[in-house]
Amino acid sequence: MRLNNLTSKPRVRLPHIPVLTEPDVIHLKNGIPVFLFPSGNTGIVRLELTFRAGTLTETQPLQARFTNIMLPGGTSAMTAREIDEAFDFLGSFPNYSVDRDRASVQLYVLPESFNEAITLLRMVISDPVFPPEELEMHRETRLQTYLINRQRVSFISLDYFFELLFGSDHPYGRRVIPEHFGTIGRESLIGFHRLCYLKGIERITLSGNFDESSIKIVVSQFEEFPPVAAQTRPPQPFPAAEQKNKLFIEKQGALQSSVRIGRRIVGMGHTDFTGLKVTDTILGGYFGSRLMANLREDKGYTYGIGSSLFNLNLTGVQMIATEVGAGVTENALREIYREMSNLGAVRVQPSELRLVRNSMLGDLARQFDGPFASTDSYLGALEAGLSMSYFRLLEETIKSITANEIKRLAETYYNENDFTEVVAGSMR
C-alpha cells in the first residue's frame, strides 16, 4: 500500500449535499411561524427571534441600534444588573444584534435551563423600561467605541461605501456621526420598541437539542404577542445612481489603504443570482479565487482580498473588500478591475470551472452541517422571501452552469463604470 507518489493521488468524489428539504414549521395563534431544526448531537439549544426592527424602519439615526442594546437594560421587575446575572447564572448566552433590515435576539442555553431562560428572555423583549441612567452609560461607552472604529481605515471605507451606494438620506446609506449619540433619547426608543418589537416578531427558530416540551414553552411565551404590524410606510426609494462613484479619503500616515469596490445588483430572487454567485466565487469568493491568486499569492499586495454577493431587502449588493499596502494602492485597484473585465472577456477554462464547482459544493455541504449552520443558511433565504428551493437551485446552478453563461454574467454585471469605489488610507 505504499504508493505515496503523485500517481497515488486519491480519487475525488463529489461532496454529498444533505437533502435540502423544508424544515418543520408550526404557526402560533398570532400567525408567527416557528421553524424547527432539531439535533440530538449537541448539548445546546438555540432560540432566535427576528424582528422587523433594522435601521430600514428607524425614523432617527441610532434608534434601531439603541433600542436593541437597551432591551436587557431593565424591566419593570428587574435591573440590568439582575438580568445579566440571571442569564449568566443559567449558563445561557443571549445575543442582541441589528442590521439594515432586521434585529435579532438569540439565546444559547442548556436544555435543563431552557424554561427559565426563555421566560427571562420574553420579559426582556416585552417589558423593557429603558432606564435613563442605563441609556446614558451606553451612549458614553458606544460613542467611545465608535470613535475608535472611526480610526480604522476598514470602518471608514465601508461607511462611505454604503453612503455612496444608497445616498446619505436613505437608511441604508446614512452614516452615523458623533452628534447622533447625544440626540438619541428615551422616548424615541420606547416608540420604536412598541412598533417594531411588540408588533414586530417576524419569525422564530428553534435549533439543536430541544423536545416537545421546549416547543410548548416557546408557544406559551410568544403566542400572545400581536401579529406583525402592516408596514406603516413604504420603504424609502433610493436616489438614482450617484454621480460621483469614486471617493478617496485620505488618512495621513496610514500604513494600508482599505478598498471597497461594489455596486447595487439583482437580488436573491432574480434568475441571474445563483449564476452570479458562481461568477463572484471565481472572482473573489474562495481561497483560490482570481483576486487572491493575483493580489496575494502572486504580488503580495495584501493579507487577504474577497468578493461577496449579498442580499438586502431592497436590493442585492456586490462588494469587493481588501486592505492593501499604502504604496501599492493604485496597482491593486488596477488589478482588481483587470480581473473583473477578464471574466467578461475570456471564457473560464474547464479545469477552473471544475475546481470552483467542487469547492462550492463542499461549501454548500458546510452551510448545512449541523443545526445552527442550517438555521443560519435557511434564515438567509427566508429573509429574501425564498425557501429551501433557493439552495436546490443554487446546487443545480453550481453543477450545470456553463463557461458561456459565466462570461455573459460578467459582461452584463462587471462593468467598471457601474461600480462604486471607496479608498480610505494613503496613496503613498
Binding site: 505515496n4 461532496p15 452541517d369
Partner: protein, 420 residues
Amino acid sequence: MKIDVTKYRLENGLRVLVHTDTSTPMAVVNLLYNVGSKDENPSMTGFAHLFEHLMFGGTRAVPNFDSALQLAGGESNAFTNCDFTNFYITIPVANIETALWLESDRMKGPDLSEKSLRVQKMVVAEEYRQRYLNQPYGDAMLHLRPLVYKVHPYRWATIGSDILHIEKASPKTVYEFFKTHYRPANAILTIAGNINPEKAFKLARKWFNDIAPGKSVNSRNLPAEPVRQAGATLDLFRNVPANALYRAWIVNPRASNGFHTFDMITDILAGGESGRLYASLVREKRLFTEINAFVTGEIEPGMVIVNGRLAPGVSKETAVEEIDREMARLAAGQITARELQKVRNRYASSFHMANTGVLQKAIALSHHELIDDASSINRMVGLYNNITIEMISDAVKERLNPAMASTLWYNKTDQNDATE
C-alpha cells in the same frame, strides 16, 4: 457529553488521534506541529508564523495545495501561536484521503521556491500592518510581552518583535527550520468525523507511515522567567480616543491545576455581562467604558491580563486603584456561593457550545494532547466544579498582587484624524 478519543502512534513517532462523530457529513484532518514562536531565535522572530504561510506554497508532487484540496470540496487554514502551529482541513468525509494525502505530502517537504518566500514575506508584512500597526491599540501585545517577560521567549509576539526580522529569512534557514521541527515525532494528527477509529488509523498509517522520522532534536531548554516582586510600567503616547491600560501578571503553566483557578478568576471578573469589573467599574461607577480580563493560556507560564479603556476625565491612579480593589476582594475570599456556581454553570455550557462542531473538537483534542493527554478534555468541567473559594483567594494572594503587576498605558494625545 463525553468526547471519545482513540490514540495511536506510528513507528516514526507520529501521534494519531481519532474522534468519531456520525452526525456530520464533514471530516476534519488536523495536524498540529509542536513548534511556535517560543522556538525562535530572538534576532529572527516571526519565523514560525512565516513558515506556516510557506507550508501552503505547494510541493514538487503537488504544486498547488489549495487547488488540489478545493477540487475535493475541502477547505483549509492554519494558525500559529507561541507554543504550536496548527493546520486544519474540513472536507466531505468521502474525500478524507485527499486531505491525508496533502498533509503527508507537505510533511515530506514544501517546495520552498524563491518566489514563494519573497511573496509570503510581503503577505506577512501586510498581515503585520493590518492586524497590529494600522489599528488603534493594535500593538498592545507587541509592547506588553517584553514588559512582562525579560528572558523567556514569550517576550515577543508570534507575529514577531520587528517587522524586518523575517526579511532575513533565507531559503537555507527556512529549510533548516523545516528539518528541525516538521517531523512526524513532533506532530499530532487528529482525524474526526463519521469514520471509525480502525479505519482512520489504517488510513493514517497508509499515508504517513513511510515518512522518515528525521533527526531527533534535543528537547527544549527555554530560560525560565524569574519571579519578580516588582512589575514594570510603560507609557505609550498615541492618537487614540481614550486612555487605556493593560495590567498583567505571570501565572501558572497550562498543565498545572493552578492554571484553571486563574481562568476561573478572570471569569468572575469579566465573564459575561455580570462580571464584576463591568458591573462595578463600567455600569455602577462609570470609570471605564470597556473592561476585560482573560488568561493567555500558554503551555509555559502565561499571563492574566486586565485591560480597559478609561471614561473621559478618569485619572490613571483611580483606574489602577479600582482594579486592585477588585483583586483585593478576591484575595479576601469575598465570593458568594451563588457567584461561584454562576461561573461553573457558564463554564459548563460554554464547554458544550465550544465543542458542538467537529472542527472545534478536533483542534481542542490536539491541543489537550500537546498539553498532557487528549482525554483530559473530558475532565475539564469536573475540574472547574472543584475549584473552591479558598483556592481562588490563595491564587490571587500568591500571584495577582498589585506590586507584581506590569502595566502598559496608552495615553491619548491630541485629537485629530491623523495617526502618527
